[in-house]
Symmetry: C2
Subunit: 301 residues, 2 copies
């Protein structure tokens, strides 16, 4: 029967194209590696390597065998990582994506606590728009991502952890600026600045405002919430931002007024997404818990 060791040895030779060097990589003797590979080739009945005294070549069919071997070993490794992660979440780096309207606001809350609770945790962070993150999660390029729902994620697992409303940001002294709440109707008279196309927040804002797309095409449309705030400060208009971003974006600007948008229902929901058969699910659960707890503090204010 084919063994995993044989496959490991074969991949080492593929990498080094040299039996002696490969044997050293595997911490065995040249002879052991040689016999193991001869045995593997005998078992599958195909020559993987063409070797003489000077060089090692990979046969065309050998390339395909090695490709499959690599895939098998990846899965074995995944099994090992799964097991480790069950005992100890976040034992291995987690590749995570975040959207631009979440990343800078959640990471400062998340990372310090994560470092304390899971000192070994390492996140490989990617910031991109929702549709790109969804694709990367599907391809396995990312292990998970934090999106704002609603967003189409067919075939993916979604784990919601936070619901939030939008807040209207305007300069003090403008109409409605002193109100406790602002309604959809009142908003219609305001010049609403939006993120540019491709940012899900734009769609969520339009949807919660019951506005059609055309109404809101601004000549300057920003690519970050921070830019939007700067535009508001510059007197170009007003904007809507999610609760999670309110404090960081508005705390230092005393000239701004922040008013809760009085439209029913959570205006967007943050959720982790992942492939249903991702094996290190426990790591995502651990992250999820930390996020839930940290955001609970926010809600209490």
């Amino acid at each position: 029967m084919i063994s995993i060791k044989q496959l490991v040895y074969a991949l080492a030779v593929e990498e080094t194209l040299h039996f002696k060097k490969a044997s050293e990589k595997c911490n065995i003797s040249q002879s052991a590696l040689s016999t193991a590979l001869n045995e593997l080739e005998k078992q599958i009945g195909l020559q993987i390597f063409e070797r003489d005294n000077k060089k090692v070549l990979i046969t065309p069919v050998g390339k395909q065998v090695l490709q499959q071997a690599r895939s098998i070993l990846l899965q074995v490794e995944e099994l090992q990582h799964f097991a480790d992660t069950q005992k100890n979440p976040l034992s291995y780096p987690l590749k995570i994506g975040l959207i631009p309207t979440v990343a800078p606001y959640i990471l400062p809350k998340l990372l310090p606590v994560l470092n304390k609770r899971y000192p070994q945790a390492r996140l490989d962070i990617v910031e991109s728009q929702s549709h790109i993150l969804v694709e990367k999660v599907r391809q396995g390029e990312l292990d998970t991502a934090i999106l704002a729902l609603p967003f189409s994620c067919e075939g993916l697992l979604t784990l919601k952890f936070w619901e939030e409303d939008f807040y209207w940001v305007t300069l003090k002294g403008t109409q409605h600026a002193q109100q406790e709440e602002i309604t959809n109707i009142e908003l219609k008279s305001c010049n609403l600045l939006l993120l540019k196309e491709g940012h899900c927040l734009k769609d969520h804002v339009l949807s919660v405002c019951n506005r059609s797309d055309q109404l809101s095409h601004q000549s300057f449309s920003a690519s970050s919430l921070n830019t939007l705030i700067q535009m508001v400060l510059g007197g170009l208009g007003t904007t809507l931002i999610p609760e999670i971003a309110v404090e960081q974006l508005t705390a230092q600007h005393t000239s701004l007024s922040v008013v809760h948008l009085n439209e029913p229902g959570p205006h967007r929901r943050l959720a982790f997404i992942s492939r249903p058969n991702f094996t290190r699910f426990s790591s995502i659960e651990a992250l999820l818990e930390v996020c839930k707890e940290e955001l609970r503090h926010l809600q209490k204010n």
Copy 2:
């Protein structure tokens, strides 16, 4: 290091839920199996089975481990099958799909030759419409399928093996019936009977006739070419059939006239499709060769 044997043993226990029976399935002693599984559990650091003197239970985490083990063993088996198939195409049953406008006409040509050239060959045949076959190939439910192109198969490999034109079938004595060729324009005056929705042939016929969909909605729309021919025989109209089907469908009906449709270009192309990383590609190649050769005879007539 985890070994493949350990995984095999674990799956045997999953199946039997009994160490003794599992050990017999694996042709080893109960003791050998017991120590092997204890060793596996120790290596991954997780309990897969909960056992006492009366019963064996699978732990929740064990279920996930076994799922991954199964997937690994499937891939190992695939590697073995790949190797065997390289040396001997069609060593293992090939799950193949065919569309209804191809299956009954190509199989009688293909199967006898296949049996002679590859006596060990076994085909598991499924007949369905193109979109269903494409989905099954994508899912791995089928190894390959024979479709008529054009048809959207993004992400799949396509291997064309035959191009053919359409032939117009009508009762002798009707207008145009004695012609050598018939054109698009002349066809417009004919009552054209089509297969019902979902058969790619309908779309190909409409496309090669430059007709819009509406023009051709028949109150009876058939689900097989044979039915169409019966309808023509019954005087309900005329129809177009692909070259591959001409002989079988019209040879015994002396009252029918068969006229080549004189529109440029091959009217449809038959092709195998498969997942790009399907490992027993050599089997498909072998089939492809047989198809090409057998259809070459047809073309010579």
